[in-house]
Amino acid sequence: MASRSIRNRRGRKKIHQDFDLQLTSMMDILVIILVFLLKSYSTSTNSFSSVPGIKLPISKTQVLPPDSLHLIVTPEAITFENARVIEFVQSADALANTDQPSYNFKKEDLDEGGMRIAILYDALNRAREKAEVLRSKSTARDAEGKPLPFDGVLAIQADKRVKYDTLRKIMYTAGAAQFRVFHLLAMRQDI
């Protein structure tokens, strides 16, 4: 027992003397990672995030979207500012074939001849009123000393399979809630 202990101590001493950590290869790896990150580095001023299950279209446009109110259209539902506003009615065909979701609304969710989505209209109106209150309290003023007007920008992030009929209803509803500019979001194609 005692002899093993002495042997261990000797061995430890030996390692301590000869052990020299080779950092060169690790440095190489880190430099490669750094170069890769610098090459593909991109920042954005917005807080947009993606959600699982959504497939965005690809665009060659290189315009970075500014931060604004954010609406997401997934195959299941419409989400506005991270809150699920309305769910789509899934037909039997859509449930059987998940690649072709149906973006149908319940009849009671629509008004104005089936063009306006009532629940979404309420949510957008609340967001507009909130933004107007914040602007009225802000120190930023226009040339006449009045609070800055509501910018009315809505960023729409939709699944690429969404039909124009659904998009039109959303934009019509947003227009009714005094949103004047739409930012249609897509994945940026690297040129």
Binding site: L23, S42, K160, Y164, L167, L185
Partner: protein, 182 residues
Amino acid sequence: MLKRPSSRRRSAPAEVKINLVPMMDALVTMISFLMYTMAFLALTMVESPLPIVSNEQNLQEIKTPPLQLTLTVDDKDVLLWSPFDRIPQQSIPNLADGNVDLLKLHEALIGIKQKFTNETKIILVPKPTTSYDTIIAVLDAAKNLEKTDPVIVTKNEKTGVQEQVKELFSEVVFGNLLGGDE
């Protein structure tokens, strides 16, 4: 009396070791910072304002009718036309797989832009069944000028200087947003 031999010749070359630990620290810090601030979701946007309904009086005041270039996306083709007949109507049939022929559409739009260099607006009229993917692809073809496209030059009305056009039709409005399929 002989001198003592120089010790320089006999001494082995000194082994130089660079301390890599501080450099490692710096690299790890930089990588952490880059990964934390990096936007992994590369998003872009296509802007479209809400169409405004103009009254008839304004139209009567305009002496020359506007181009009002309209792009109608149909099931089988894409139509390029002007409600005031400023250009002959062009029909671009879809490809065999049913997708819009974006190359021909882009070429046709370049031809129109060469005639109306100051025009920046285009009205998009998709069908209710047109997918968002197709809309974005058509908007790409209508807005962006590629490096390989012919150079289009226009006269800046403010400065009077000839300038190269950087975008095709940058202002896109959905024509049937407020109602109606056509």
